[in-house]
Amino acid sequence: MQKPPRPLPQATPETKEYWDGLKAHELRIQRCSDCSEFYFFPRPFCPSCHSQNVAFQKVSGKGKLHSYVIAHRGHPAFDAPYVIAIVELNEGPKMMTNIIGVDDPTPEKLPADAAVEIVFDDVNENVTLPQFKLV
């Protein structure tokens, strides 16, 4: 049976800068100029203080493993087992991603708070996804 395609994102006006950043192999997230908080996902105001004085900025792409599941029964486009993770960026925000590069993932190979780093996955000419690897 043929595998269905991986679900891919479609950018919206307020998220385009984020997805364009990934295409350029930069992780760009927004920071509030009033309260200094970084936040994710993109939107045209700060979800902490509701200021509209916000701007995208390139960040390190480094963080730590916050939480995860090892999907043994998951999306048919993926080869199970695979890791769906929440990564906490060094700048503060959390985002969902996959941890790649771990053969046959087990909890032992994925310790709490493990250091991780972004890998830019050019899925096709239009979409680059943020994936993370253990460092």
Partner: protein
């Protein structure tokens, strides 16, 4: 802040029923499940469908069309499994305001057989389509379960403690002839069942079934004139906080419950956790009721794992919880909250048969919608 205590004990559930059976029901469309439970609940209240003048449902237009009724008050709140708890709270306010006299709340879901059900899904440009779907989330096991590893890391919660939730709940299902899963299980059985999304094994995950349930609510003044013992609404709380699990504010705490619905419901009821004789804490997965126990103040932060392992909530324990067998072992249609209310009502009426709690006067019902996304709490009593 405006005070909801004026609505304490002002309305009551006077009709409550489920579909004739629950489980695998390929011969029912989803709307039939709504309708059967609706007719059963109306009959339980000694009423006719034409007596209904208020309707709350996740799909009220479809329901009124199907039932052929013309309510003068309607609520279509649809935020997942806790929607029905929110409907109860809204109905209480509507009845007190004079918007309706006799409210019907229904649930029907062909969650397993998927007869007469639309497709799942949002588009690729939704927030979920952009920031979760590309990473292979595939339904609740890979979404709802995401926070628990953070809880395990922070508090030392173990897989054995998660398994204990399933064991305690199954022990209640053994006493429920309508439950889908009735064989006793052990912690080892849970841990040796296949992994769905580590740390969740098959027996840490709720069932997928078909079924329905419905309620009839009226004012406290009218409630004494019905055939069954009234079950009064003492307190309620509701909240939405996020949609996708990746936006959960703190993965170690059910914030909607801790900050909003618990305090709101207890304040309205004038009661606290120690006053609760019984609990129905929605168990989509083993960790869901653990987060509820902590967020609502029944145990301290991080204490739910050891607490569950001590079997306080199992038959014979000092805090009976999920006495129908829960979503884990009784039934889980997708939006299970209605069944949690049904069991609380049955216990408060003394109708729970072999699993009846003696001397019960209060019950707390608590549920999430989506992935800890929405939250609702009800405190019910029979005095």
């Amino acid at each position: 802040m405006a005070d909801s205590t004026a609505l304490r004990h002002k309305t009551a559930i006077v009709g409550a029923a489920e579909t004739n059976t629950v489980g695998v029901l390929p011969d029912y469309s989803q709307l039939q499940l709504h309708a059967e439970s609706a007719f059963n609940a109306v009959a339980d209240a000694g009423l006719k469908m034409s007596d209904i003048d208020g309707v709350a449902s996740v799909a009220p237009a479809q329901l009124t069309e199907y039932l052929g009724i013309m309510p003068r008050w309607v609520d279509g709140t649809s935020v997942g499994g806790c929607s029905f708890l929110i409907h109860v709270g809204h109905a209480a306010a509507a009845i007190a305001a004079g918007y309706a006299d006799t409210v019907l709340i229904t649930h029907g879901e062909s969650g397993r057989s998927r007869v007469g059900v639309g497709g799942f899904g949002g588009g690729a440009s939704t927030i979920g389509g952009q920031f979760e779907a590309p990473f292979g989330v595939a339904g609740p096991p890979t979404m709802f379960s995401v926070p628990i590893v953070h809880h395990m890391k922070k508090f030392g919660t173990t897989e054995e403690q998660l398994a204990a939730v399933s064991v305690a709940t199954r022990a209640w299902a053994v006493k429920n002839p309508r439950a889908m899963m009735r064989d006793p299980i052990t912690v080892d059985d849970v841990l040796s069942s296949r992994i769905i999304a580590w740390p969740m094994h098959l027996l840490n995950c709720c069932l997928v079934t078909d079924g329905g349930g419905a309620l009839v609510m009226v004012s406290e003044e009218r409630a004494r004139d019905f055939p069954k013992k009234p079950v009064y609404l003492l307190g309620r709380g509701e909240n939405t906080a996020h949609q996708g699990i990746s936006s959960m504010r703190d993965m170690s705490v059910w914030s909607g419950a801790a900050e909003v619905t618990g305090p709101e419901a207890f304040r309205m009821a004038g009661l606290g956790p120690k006053d609760m004789d019984h609990a129905m804490f929605y168990d989509a997965f083993s960790h869901t009721p653990m987060y509820a126990l902590e967020a609502l103040g029944f145990v301290g932060p991080g204490e739910s794992g050891p607490y569950m392992a001590e079997m306080h909530t199992a038959p014979g324990g000092d805090f009976p919880m999920n006495t129908n067998g829960g979503g884990l072992s009784y039934t889980h249609t997708g939006m299970y909250g209605m069944f949690a209310i049904q069991e609380a009502v049955a216990q408060l009426r003394g109708e729970s048969g072999e699993r009846q709690i003696d001397g019960i006067e209060t019950s707390i019902v608590h549920a999430p919608g989506g992935m800890f996304s929405a939250t609702a709490t009800l405190i019910l009593g029979n005095q």
